[in-house]
């Protein structure tokens, strides 16, 4: 392994690139700002690639570790490391950043430098969340990442952007403040340590574990988002610019689920078992009820937002079945959803840029004017519905398999997503793409440009690649997931 601090680079290269882009300044320099941003995003992606190539799949231990004292007064360390669970998200996030910069290339015409800088800085902060092994470092990245997204929604968003930005910020902050308190509690009861790995080994009485679990739940459930604290997501998605929606769906939603794996399950395993029924019920509500809600949407972005909630319900369901199939399925689902939901929002963005409407009824017969686009959109719609050979299928199938072993009733409800997902996605697709040309807007549509083609092709590669050959991804996770399950099967009560 080379001596480079790869994880630090993964965090700080995009952040620094963001500040450099900011220096490009006013809108006269937009072309320069865009190029710098793309360069920064590519550099950010490049530095994360050694994580995959140099990764040792045989060990569940943290790799690429970095440990420096940060705030000695409170025993906080700049402690980074990745395992099979977090490594993939770092790469996914860095990849999505490139997509986002490309997605905003033409559409964003005002404050271009600030727009791109926000995304680059956020990309670094999000990487920080995934690689932090110090509780406070995690929290600092977790909360700081709210600021760029708040600005992205608020400055470049739609008509109700202010409402959406505030709702997003305050909902998340409300949850994460409780997380802060439980981090402080753990710090004070572990002899002044903020190390997440030490907390994993910390014995705790059941009562305490339950409180900690609930505080974690408050933070992560809002972020996932789980029913009934999901209401900020449709608003945020609808108002955010396309790039914001992509990051929100592809990465930001994964933070909550990642929090469950890194914090809730290993730190409070007994409480996790005790509350698993509750989480499973909430997940099933998300899958079934939100699936029906999605069916009724007239706004495409809202529809995909609700479908995201339903898909994330699958993820939380997978975690709390406590089987390796379920956890791995959930993780695959998270990665796949990153590609597919990102791509869905991008497709809607492509149409919105041309017609300036997101309502399904304003479209119809798009295939006649945009055949190439329709083909891509078809692929992603199928992936969103969980068609075999697409990435959407792999994760869902694994989770359903795991739930069959767990309880047939749960499995039945979970499997309903196969029908519901297909129904809302394909029905939307049919109404938007097929049929006769609905109005003159659609008639005037032009097919995708080379840049849009590139973005869609990259995303399609991910969605199809995982669907056809998920091995490279599941292989990385194996030992970490096994270790996680072994860890949480042992009681921490003493």
């Amino acid at each position: 392994m080379s001596g480079l601090p790869i994880l630090s680079l993964a965090i700080w290269v995009p952040v620094l690139a963001g500040f450099v882009v900011l220096l490009a300044g006013s809108d006269q320099n937009s072309p320069l700002a865009r190029k710098l941003a793309l360069l920064g995003a590519l550099a950010g992606l490049l530095v994360t690639l050694p994580l995959y190539t140099g990764f040792d799949t045989t060990t569940p231990a943290m790799q690429f570790g970095e440990l420096h004292p940060w705030i000695r007064r409170f025993g906080m360390n700049y402690h980074l490391g990745v395992d099979g669970i977090s490594m993939l998200f770092v790469i996914l996030n860095s990849f999505i950043t490139v997509i986002v910069v490309l997605a905003g290339w033409k559409v964003i015409q005002s404050k271009v430098a600030q727009y791109n800088a926000c995304f680059l800085i956020m990309s670094g902060l999000l990487n920080g969340i995934f690689v932090a092994l110090d509780g406070m470092l995690f929290y600092v990245f977790f909360e700081a990442s709210l600021i760029p997204l708040y600005l992205i929604i608020g400055v470049w968003g739609g008509p109700r952007r202010v409402y959406a930005a505030f709702k997003f910020f305050l909902f998340t902050l409300a949850g994460s403040l409780l997380l802060l308190l439980s981090l402080i509690y753990l710090y004070l009861h572990s002899n002044g340590s903020f190390s997440i790995l030490e907390w994993h080994q910390l014995p705790l009485p059941l009562e305490t574990q339950k409180w900690i679990f609930l505080a974690f739940l408050a933070a992560f459930a809002v972020k996932v988002p789980m029913w009934p604290v999901h209401t900020w997501l449709p608003d945020a998605h609808v108002e955010a610019p396309t790039g914001g929606s992509i990051v929100l769906a592809a990465i930001a939603l994964k933070l909550g689920a990642y929090g469950f794996v890194r914090f809730s399950l290993p730190i409070a395993p007994d409480a996790a078992h005790a509350f698993s029924g509750l989480i499973i019920i909430l997940s099933l509500i998300a899958v079934v009820y939100i699936g029906f809600v999605a069916l009724a949407q007239e706004d495409m972005k809202k529809l995909v937002a609700y479908s995201s909630i339903a898909h994330m319900g699958f993820v939380t369901l997978g975690f709390f079945l406590f089987s390796s199939l379920g956890v791995e399925g959930a993780l695959v689902q998270m990665i796949s959803h990153g590609f597919v939901a990102g791509a869905m929002f991008y497709c809607i963005g492509v149409m919105y840029d041309r017609v300036h409407s997101r309502l399904i009824k304003d479209y119809g017969g798009v295939v006649n004017t945009m055949p190439k686009f329709a083909a891509f959109f078809m692929l992603f719609a199928m992936a969103n519905a969980g068609l075999p050979a697409t990435s959407g299928f792999v994760g869902e199938f694994m989770v359903i398999m795991a739930s069959v072993k767990f309880n047939l009733c749960v499995a039945f409800l979970a499997a309903s997503t196969m029908i519901l997902g297909a129904a809302y996605t394909l029905w939307m697709y049919k109404r938007v793409v097929f049929g006769a040309v609905a109005n003159h807007h659609v008639a005037e549509l032009t097919d995708i440009t080379a840049r849009e083609f590139l973005v869609l092709a990259l995303l399609a590669l991910g969605a199809l690649g995982i669907g056809l050959y998920p091995q490279p991804i599941t292989e990385v996770m194996h030992s970490s997931v096994d270790e996680l399950l072994r860890h949480i099967s042992v009681s921490k009560i003493q």
Binding site: G25, W70, I71, R72, R73, F74, K111, Q114, M136, Y139, V140, F141, E143, A144, L146, I147, Y150, L151, G154, V155, R161, V162, A165, F166, F169, L170, L173, A174, L177, L178, L180, L181, I184, Y185, Y187, L188
Partner: protein, 497 residues
């Protein structure tokens, strides 16, 4: 008493040399100003700044690790005092830089009095910080307050300003009365006004229920000076009515001095009745966080909003002060009180930056004190908007800005003393608070510009404001040094008996 016993002993003046220097310079400045013809009062301004720099040098030269007393134990020199004095000098110096252009635009204020009064107020704060006797505390507070009353009413043609000055004076005088009354009761109960001696007598179990009575009045007086609920009535009106340059002054350095008084009186003097005052501080703290944060939401004037925010921040600061002694166990004293100190210092830093930005946007005849005046600031000048945004996020307690670690350290003090409900109340109110800070960011970034007048600033203000903004971010990323500084200086200065 024989003649030999009545020998006059010259007190050790070295420890108080900074105070003596500032006093001399204030008198000199007053004299010189009488003969200055220049409308800009450049000489007065430069002399004032020099006096503050000189004071810093004097403090540095006489600084010692030991706690030393002088003037018959009425005056103390120690590390905490030195640290707080440096911070007072810095914030007054920076404040004067920020205010310079604002004052020159307003002929009513562009007189020597502003500078001389600033110096006297600074002297008052220095005396408060170094007080180890109740009378010294009182003299310091009065010297600060009387200067501030006059400064608030300095713009005598403005009705709001004179009204604010009047309100401040009447309520301030009442609070001073409370304080003095409380001190007299403590004296009656224990027979001493010396703070270390008081502590010793309380430790030996002297004093009776009258101590508690006296304590109530002392706390009421101090609470007034800190501006915490229910003794906060003056804060919004004074912040709002005073000229912004004066608001900046009130909102920064005096908080540091008031914190020093809290440590001197409550910790060094009255720690053995901490059971009584901790409960009182908890009530003050929760009420301040509640009233401050909720009332701030309704404000449209940014100075008034920041006034309510100041009330809530003092409430947060009191979290640390009220969780030091836990079930009679003083283990957490340094942890808890230094978290409060860190909180005050970082608050002053953010407050300076926020009011500095308001001053920057104000011009001749235009106050820029409505929140809507900040509309579209990002379009007009993205760097100033970024600085104001950092101040707002810092006050809201969002990382990577220093306000987050301030909030973290008082919260951990509350959790360490097993008062989880207190911490939960605090995070609830900080969530409420986040709303109105976010609103300022929203106005600056999401709204179209309200004015196209270019923002002009002198190079020194540009530089200082940038340094101020970067400090909030950099100390937010590397807070360890400041935390350790607060903790060590405080631990050296707590003299329980």
């Amino acid at each position: 008493m024989t003649l030999a016993e009545m020998q006059f002993v010259v007190p050790e003046l070295r420890i108080a040399s900074a105070e003596i220097f500032v006093l001399a310079m204030a008198c000199l400045t007053l004299l010189v100003d009488a003969f200055v013809k220049d409308k800009k009062r450049t000489v007065t301004y430069v002399l004032t700044q020099l006096a503050l720099v000189g004071a810093a040098v004097a403090t540095f030269a006489t600084s010692s690790e030991q706690v030393s007393y002088t003037f018959s134990n009425m005056f103390v020199g120690d590390l905490m005092g030195d640290l707080l004095k440096y911070l007072v000098y810095i914030s007054v110096i920076v404040g004067l830089f920020y205010s310079r252009a604002y004052i020159l635009d307003r002929p009513e204020m562009a007189k020597g009095e502003f500078y001389v009064l600033s110096l006297f107020a600074t002297l008052g704060m220095m005396v408060m910080i170094s007080a180890s006797h109740f009378l010294t505390v009182y003299i310091g507070i009065e010297m600060l307050s009387l200067s501030l009353y006059a400064m608030v009413a300095l713009d005598r043609n403005s009705i709001a300003s004179t009204e604010a000055g009047m309100k401040y004076f009447v309520l301030g005088a009442l609070a001073s009365g409370f304080l003095l009354y409380g001190m007299s009761m403590l004296y009656g109960a224990t027979g001493t006004l010396e703070i270390p001696m008081l502590s010793e007598r309380l430790f030996r179990g002297e004093g009776d229920f009258i101590v508690s009575f006296g304590l109530v009045f002392v706390i009421a007086g101090i609470a007034f000076k800190l501006g915490v609920v229910p003794f906060h009535m003056w804060i919004p009106d004074v912040y709002h009515g005073a000229p912004t340059a004066v608001t900046l002054f009130i909102a920064s350095a005096p908080k540091l001095a008031a914190f020093a008084v809290v440590i001197r009186v409550l910790v060094n003097g009255l720690i053995f009745v901490s059971k009584d005052w901790q409960m009182m501080l908890i009530i003050l703290s929760v009420l301040s966080m509640a009233v401050g944060n909720f009332a701030a939401i309704a404000q449209t004037n940014i100075k008034r909003m920041l006034a309510y925010s100041a009330i809530s921040h003092m409430g947060f600061m009191l979290i640390g002060m009220s969780t030091g002694v836990f079930q009679g166990d003083p283990r957490f004293i340094v942890d808890a009180y230094s978290s409060s100190m860190f909180y005050v210092v970082t608050y002053v830093l953010a407050s300076l930056g926020a009011f500095g930005t308001i001053l920057l946007l104000s011009r001749a005849g235009f106050e820029s004190d409505e929140i809507s005046d900040f509309a579209g600031l990002n379009k007009r000048n993205s760097w100033y908007a970024a600085i104001m945004m950092m101040m707002m996020f810092s006050m809201a307690g969002i990382p990577f800005f220093v306000g987050f670690f301030a909030k973290f350290s008082v919260l951990q003090a509350a959790v360490a003393s097993d008062q989880m409900w207190f911490a939960i109340a605090a995070i609830f109110f900080s969530l409420v608070g986040a709303y109105y800070y976010l609103r300022v960011v929203k106005v600056m970034y999401f709204d179209p510009p309200a004015s196209t007048v270019p923002i002009t600033a002198t190079a020194d203000v540009k530089l200082l404001l940038s340094v101020n903004g970067l400090a909030v971010a950099l100390i937010g990323i590397f807070p360890n040094a400041l935390m350790v500084l607060c903790a060590t200086s405080l631990s050296r200065s707590i003299t329980i008996f």
